[in-house]
Symmetry: C2
Subunit: 318 residues, 2 copies
């Protein structure tokens, strides 16, 4: 099967990203001038969907926007990006989530988020997409959504689908469901404790935490090490500690979304978990070079760079 | 003539105001959650126009927006507000100005402004509105616009029109033109030095500066005293030092715009400069009670409260 025929459904946030690059944040009472403004489709679900599409998948989004002008615009942009939006609800009376990303000097990023409860997924929203979920080759579920919606999504996945869960489970019940159903689980350093149940400190403890999780069901576990010290990807019988690649991180927004999407797409393409981990690391390093969370991935280049990074790492450690 | 028949043309900025109320600004790398989001027609020109409309005038705006969705939306809102927008250019390829107003704990406001040069007025943009300007009872000109556009607006005003200039002149030539043509000049404390040519310190010096300006042409001069110590309004033979009225200033954005609009409307209605000054002070105190710069004035209430404040002040000093 060609990559281009793989169907990926992403269950998560669809938002408007407003990215303002400024030299410095104004003082209280003061003002600053914007150097660059970008306004675009964003949110973790849309970012992951766009990345999967750029890597060759047919993508369907499941999410919620408002019935405002912003909701119409982000859906138009998703359609322009070749993303299916039949599963995105336009909720009457709700306002589309707004993610303001204030990017100062390199690395100094501040997020200001306006996410109305009404634009979170309900179990009914997910149920309405049951057919689409059942026929997906991969389903990416974001655990920022309410536990009942996450449960509905996990229940609807086909038996052979690659199920990827990203984030901190909302409660113990959701955590249990996720670990028993997901093939891949991913958490960044802020989400780590909710997923593993204790607070791993440093790469060695994160590896141990990943191995614990592998014993509970998933076949690939990807966890960030706190303090920007890279990511651990583990599978039964092995693991790799990925450094943060690239030198010019301008804005970390969206790095984790491209990481998850590339990891899923590599596994779907039949790559080993170790090589898939390098796809993820290279994809994350690509998006953080620009302000905003929107990925601009090229499948061929990603494959080549991931292979090179993998071989360099093997040569160093070997 | 009824107030409702007065025609006011406002020459200035038309923008999109995005007002986000947050508890605290996030740290670098962190995030904050929005308590309240308002997104609306804004910019100094639109704010003054809306205020004049609320005080009974027929209002025409002269300004520039982009040909983007935001430009369409702000013009729709202006039309809904009963403001004439035939004089607002939708510039091809330009993006509508965005004024982000981050409102923290009461008083802690930060502005982040994205104003493309392409959405500033050109002399041609103003020339196209010559007929509208010529027939106006009052013209409010914002000196943030380029000097050549300001000159075109001043030249186009009818002989009997009340001409109000607000802000810091762009250069000496503009300053000279403004002082020889405007009936009313207004500058806040940051704009004061450009208008008067030296830096007055404290209310007594601001009164002296206002009297100097009166000698150069205007018949009413309104200047803010630095450090939030109120406003001076002066006319030949008299002046008043206005305190900042009201106790609950949530966001100073737009206070100056309502001040100017109310001052102009009171003078147009035939009030004395002294009573007009109190209209202005009451109008400014009203808008700063809410986040964002949008006025919500009621003509009758403003008239009553201004009269009361005036009489209280007279009783105190008398």
């Amino acid at each position: 099967m060609e990559d281009s025929e793989r169907k990926v459904v992403v269950v998560g946030q669809v938002a408007r990203d407003l990215v303002l690059s400024i030299d410095d944040l104004p003082e209280e009472g003061g003002s600053a001038t914007v150097r660059e403004r970008r306004e675009m489709l964003g949110g973790k679900g849309a970012n992951q969907g766009v990345a999967c599409r750029q890597l060759g998948a047919r993508v369907e989004l499941v999410g919620v926007v408002g019935d405002d002008a912003a909701g119409r615009e982000v859906l138009e942009q998703a359609a322009d990006d070749g993303i299916g939006v039949a599963g995105v609800v336009r909720r009457a009376g709700a306002r589309t989530a707004l993610l303001l990303d204030l990017v100062g000097p390199p690395g100094a990023r501040r997020l200001v988020e306006d996410v109305d409860d009404q634009v979170l997924l309900s179990p009914d929203d997910v149920e309405a997409c049951r057919e689409s979920l059942r026929s997906a080759d991969a389903v990416l579920v974001q655990l920022q959504q309410p536990g009942a919606a996450v449960a509905a999504a996990l229940d609807a996945c086909g038996e052979d689908a690659l199920v990827v869960a990203d984030g901190a489970p909302a409660d113990e019940e959701t955590r249990r469901r996720v670990l028993s159903r997901a093939d891949v689980v991913r958490a960044d350093s802020a989400e780590l404790e909710s997923l593993v149940g204790w607070e791993p400190d440093g790469a060695a403890e994160v590896v141990r935490a990943a191995q614990e999780l592998l014993g509970q069901g998933p076949r690939v576990v990807a966890l960030s090490v706190a303090g920007g010290r890279g990511d651990v990807v583990a599978w039964p019988g092995g693991h790799v500690v990925l450094p943060l690649l690239g030198e010019k991180a301008v804005d970390p927004t969206g790095g984790g979304d491209s990481f998850v999407a590339a990891l899923a797409m590599a596994l779907l393409a039949g790559e080993t978990p170790e090589l898939a981990a390098w796809w993820a690391a290279v994809a994350a390093s690509d998006v953080v070079r620009r302000p905003g969370g929107r990925p601009e991935l090229e499948a061929d280049r990603l494959r080549t760079e991931a292979r090179r990074a993998y071989e360099e790492a093997a040569a160093t450690t070997g």
